[in-house]
C-alpha cells in the first residue's frame, strides 16, 4: 500500500489544523465540549455506518445500538478489569460491539434492502433493552444515569476538554487511516464488489459470507469505539436512552448526506448534522430574539434535514462529499483555463 503525494499533504494539513491551529485559536470550552468532541465521535460512528452501508451496500439501521454496546462495555471493563487501561478497554469494547455486529449481521446473508433494515432494527432494540433490564451492566445503579469514570492513560488523567479532544482526535485519526487503507485495499474492493452486484461478486470468487460478516464486524467495532468515546468524552455519563433509535437515524443521515461510500463524507456529514441545529438556534436567538419557540426551531430543523435528504437523493445521491469534489474540479478547471489564457 503506497500513499500518493496528495494523501500525505491532506494528512499533513489535517494534522496541522487539528493539532496546532485549533488548540491555539480556540480557547472557549464550549467549542471542545459541544462541537469538536461529539463531531469526532459521531464521525467515527458514521465511518462505521459507511463501511456497512456505503461500501458494502447493506442497509443497516442500528449504529446507536452498537454504540451503546461499546459504551457500556467500556464502563464495565474499566470498572471490573482496571488492569486493561483506557486504550486496552477501548479496543476490547470495540471488539465486544463487533461480536454483536457479527450476530446481527448474519441475516444479511439471506436478505437485503428493507428486510435487512428490519433485522438490524432488532439489534437496536435488543441491545438497549438488554442494558436497561440487566442491572449488572449498569453496576446495579438505580438512578438510571451512571457517571462515566475519568479517563486515565498511563497514569495521567485526561479530564480537561482540551485533553479529551486530543484523546478523541488520536483515536479518530488512527481509525480513519485504518478505514481508508481497508477501503482502498482488497478488503474494500471486496466490499464494493458485493455492493455493486453480489451475485457477480460471488461468481468472481468473493466470499459473501466472509465479506458481509467482516463488514458488519468492522462497522460495529467502529461504532462501539465511537460509542465509548461519545459516552466518556462527550456525555460523561452512561444511559441507554442516549443511544435510542433517533441517534441511529442521525448517523444514517450523516452517512447519506455526507456521501455514501466515502470516508471524508462521514466527517462532512457529521459536521453538517451537528452544526446545522447550532446555526439554526443562533439565527433563532439573534435574528428573531427568541420570538420563535425552541420546539418550532427543532421542527424546522427536522423538515430541512428531510428536505435535504430528498433533494440529495434526486440530484446528488452521492452526497456532500461528491458536491465538494465537483466544486474542487470546477475551481481547478477555471484556474487552469485562466492560466492558459495568460
Amino acid at each position: 500500500m503506497t500513499y500518493t503525494k496528495k494523501d500525505l499533504t491532506n494528512l499533513g494539513v489535517c494534522m496541522v489544523l487539528s493539532l496546532i491551529i485549533i488548540p491555539t485559536f480556540i480557547k472557549t470550552e464550549y467549542w471542545y465540549t459541544s462541537i469538536l468532541i461529539p463531531w469526532l465521535c459521531l464521525a467515527l460512528a458514521t465511518i462505521g455506518q459507511q463501511v456497512v452501508m456505503g461500501y458494502t451496500g447493506q442497509l443497516a439501521l442500528g449504529a446507536a445500538g452498537f454504540m451503546a454496546a461499546g459504551a457500556f462495555a467500556m464502563f464495565n471493563l474499566i470498572l471490573r478489569v482496571p488492569d486493561l487501561g483506557f486504550v486496552g478497554s477501548l479496543i476490547v469494547s470495540g471488539l465486544i460491539a463487533a461480536a454483536f455486529g457479527i450476530l446481527f449481521g448474519l441475516p444479511s446473508l439471506k436478505v437485503r434492502g428493507i428486510y435487512l433494515m428490519v433485522a438490524t432494527l432488532a439489534s437496536q432494540f435488543f441491545i438497549i433493552w438488554m442494558i436497561d433490564k440487566f442491572g449488572w451492566f449498569k453496576n446495579y445503579d438505580s438512578s438510571g444515569i451512571i457517571t462515566a469514570q475519568d479517563i486515565v492513560i498511563l497514569g495521567k488523567p485526561f479530564t480537561t476538554p482540551l485533553a479529551m479532544y486530543f484523546v478523541c482526535l488520536a483515536v479518530t485519526t488512527v481509525l480513519t487511516l485504518l478505514a481508508m487503507n481497508m477501503a482502498r485495499g482488497s478488503t474494500g474492493r471486496n466490499w464494493m464488489a458485493v455492493r455493486d452486484m453480489d451475485i457477480a461478486a460471488e461468481s468472481m470468487g468473493v466470499s459473501l459470507l466472509k465479506t458481509k460478516v467482516q463488514a458488519f464486524a468492522i462497522s460495529a467495532f467502529y461504532c462501539g469505539v465511537a460509542g465509548a468515546l461519545f459516552a466518556f468524552c462527550y456525555l460523561k455519563s452512561l444511559e441507554p436512552v442516549a443511544f435510542d433509535i433517533k441517534l441511529s437515524f442521525k448517523i444514517l443521515f450523516m452517512c447519506i448526506l455526507g456521501g455514501l461510500g466515502t470516508i471524508n463524507g462521514a466527517f462532512i456529514g457529521a459536521a453538517f448534522i451537528l452544526l446545522f441545529p447550532v446555526l439554526l438556534n443562533a439565527v433563532g436567538n439573534n435574528v428573531f430574539h427568541g420570538a420563535i419557540d425552541a420546539t418550532i426551531i427543532s421542527s424546522i430543523e427536522q423538515v430541512i434535514f428531510g428536505l435535504l435528504m430528498i433533494v440529495f437523493m434526486i440530484y446528488e445521491p452521492l452526497g456532500m462529499a461528491k458536491l465538494w469534489e465537483n466544486i474542487k474540479l470546477k475551481l481547478k478547471l477555471k484556474l487552469t483555463s485562466s492560466n492558459r489564457k495568460t
Partner: protein
C-alpha cells in the same frame, strides 16, 4: 385450570385485537408497495401527521368531527399529490434503496411539519369509544376485552375487505397490479402511471389517518406513534410486503405472540420484551421464508 385458560384466552384475544392495530399501519405500507414496488418508510410519519392534523382541526379550530375527518383526509390527498410530484416522479428511474432513503427524508419532513403546525404536546383523541372492557362480554364469557380493540378490529376487517375487492375486481385495481409488476410496460399500454401513483398515495394517506385515529384513541396523539409504526415492519416481513391479507395475518401473529411472550416469558427477563420480540420473530421468519407468508417469491435476475 379454567381460570388459567380464561386468562390465556384473554391475553391471546387482547393480543390478536391489538395486532389488528399494527395491521392497519402495515396496510398503508402494502398499498404503496403493491402498486409501485417502493417501500414507503414515511408511512409511520404519515400516521402521525394525519391524526395530528385531524386533532388540530377538531381542537384548535372547533371543526366538527366528521368535517375534520374529511379535511384531514383531503390533506392526506394533498400530501400524496405533493409526494408524487416532488419526490417520486424525479426518482422514477432511481434504485429501490435510493427511493427508500428519500422516503425516510419524507418522513422527517412530515414529522417536522406536523410538530411545527400543531405543537409537540400529547393530545387526547376521543372517538366516543372507550378503551375499557365491554361489559356484555365480561359478564357472559368472563373475558375482559376492550371496546376500542373490537372497534379497531372491525374497522381493519372492513378496510381489508374493501381494498381486496378494489384490487381484485375493479379496473383501477388491475391497473395497480400491472404497475406494480412492471411500471414501464404498464405505462406503454396506456395505464396512466401518474394517476395511479396519486391514487395509491392518497389511499395510503387515508389508511394512515384511520390507523392514526385508532392508535391516537388508545395511546394519545404523540410523537411515539412514529416508533409504534416501526412495529408494522416485522408485521410486513411476516405477512409479505405485497399482500393485503398478509398484513392482517402478520399483524395478528405479531400482536398475539408479543402479548403471550410478554405475559408468560417476559417476567423471567424483567419484562418489556415486546420492544424487540417482534423484530426477532421477524428475523426467524426471514431466515426460513424471506418473502413472508403471502408474499410473492423474490426472484432476482442477474
Amino acid at each position: 385450570m379454567v381460570e388459567e385458560l380464561l386468562f390465556f384466552m384473554e391475553v391471546l384475544v387482547g393480543g390478536l385485537l391489538a395486532g389488528t392495530m399494527y395491521s392497519l399501519v402495515a396496510l398503508g405500507f402494502v398499498l404503496i408497495f403493491k402498486a409501485s414496488a417502493t417501500f414507503n418508510f414515511s408511512q409511520g410519519a404519515m400516521v402521525f401527521f394525519s391524526v395530528l392534523a385531524f386533532c388540530g382541526f377538531m381542537q384548535d379550530f372547533n371543526i366538527p368531527f366528521v368535517l375534520a375527518f374529511i379535511l384531514a383526509a383531503l390533506l392526506m390527498v394533498v400530501v400524496g399529490l405533493c409526494t408524487e410530484r416532488l419526490v417520486l416522479r424525479p426518482l422514477m428511474n432511481a434504485s429501490e434503496d435510493t427511493v427508500l432513503m428519500a422516503t425516510i427524508g419524507l418522513g422527517y419532513v412530515l414529522e417536522g411539519l406536523a410538530q411545527a403546525a400543531w405543537g409537540v404536546e400529547v393530545r387526547r383523541l376521543d372517538l366516543g369509544i372507550g378503551d375499557f372492557p365491554v361489559p356484555w362480554i365480561a359478564d357472559n364469557l368472563k373475558l375482559f376485552i376492550s371496546a376500542l380493540d373490537i372497534f379497531a378490529g372491525l374497522v381493519a376487517a372492513l378496510m381489508i375487505i374493501g381494498l381486496s375487492l378494489l384490487f381484485k375486481f375493479t379496473k383501477i385495481g388491475l391497473g395497480l397490479r400491472a404497475v406494480a409488476d412492471d411500471a414501464g410496460a404498464a405505462s406503454s399500454i396506456g395505464i396512466p402511471l401518474k394517476h395511479i401513483m396519486l391514487l395509491v398515495w392518497s389511499a395510503a394517506g387515508v389508511v394512515a389517518l384511520v390507523a392514526g385515529c385508532m392508535w391516537g384513541a388508545r395511546a394519545g396523539v404523540q410523537f411515539a406513534l412514529v416508533d409504534l409504526a416501526l412495529k408494522a415492519l416485522p408485521v410486513l416481513i411476516i405477512g409479505g410486503f405485497s399482500s393485503i391479507p398478509g398484513a392482517i395475518i402478520g399483524g395478528l401473529i405479531i400482536g398475539a405472540t408479543e402479548k403471550v411472550l410478554e405475559v408468560y416469558i417476559g417476567p423471567f427477563f424483567g419484562g418489556a420484551i415486546e420492544g424487540w420480540a417482534p423484530y426477532v420473530l421477524a428475523i426467524f421468519f426471514l431466515l426460513y421464508r424471506p418473502e413472508g407468508l403471502f408474499g410473492e417469491k423474490i426472484i432476482r435476475r442477474v
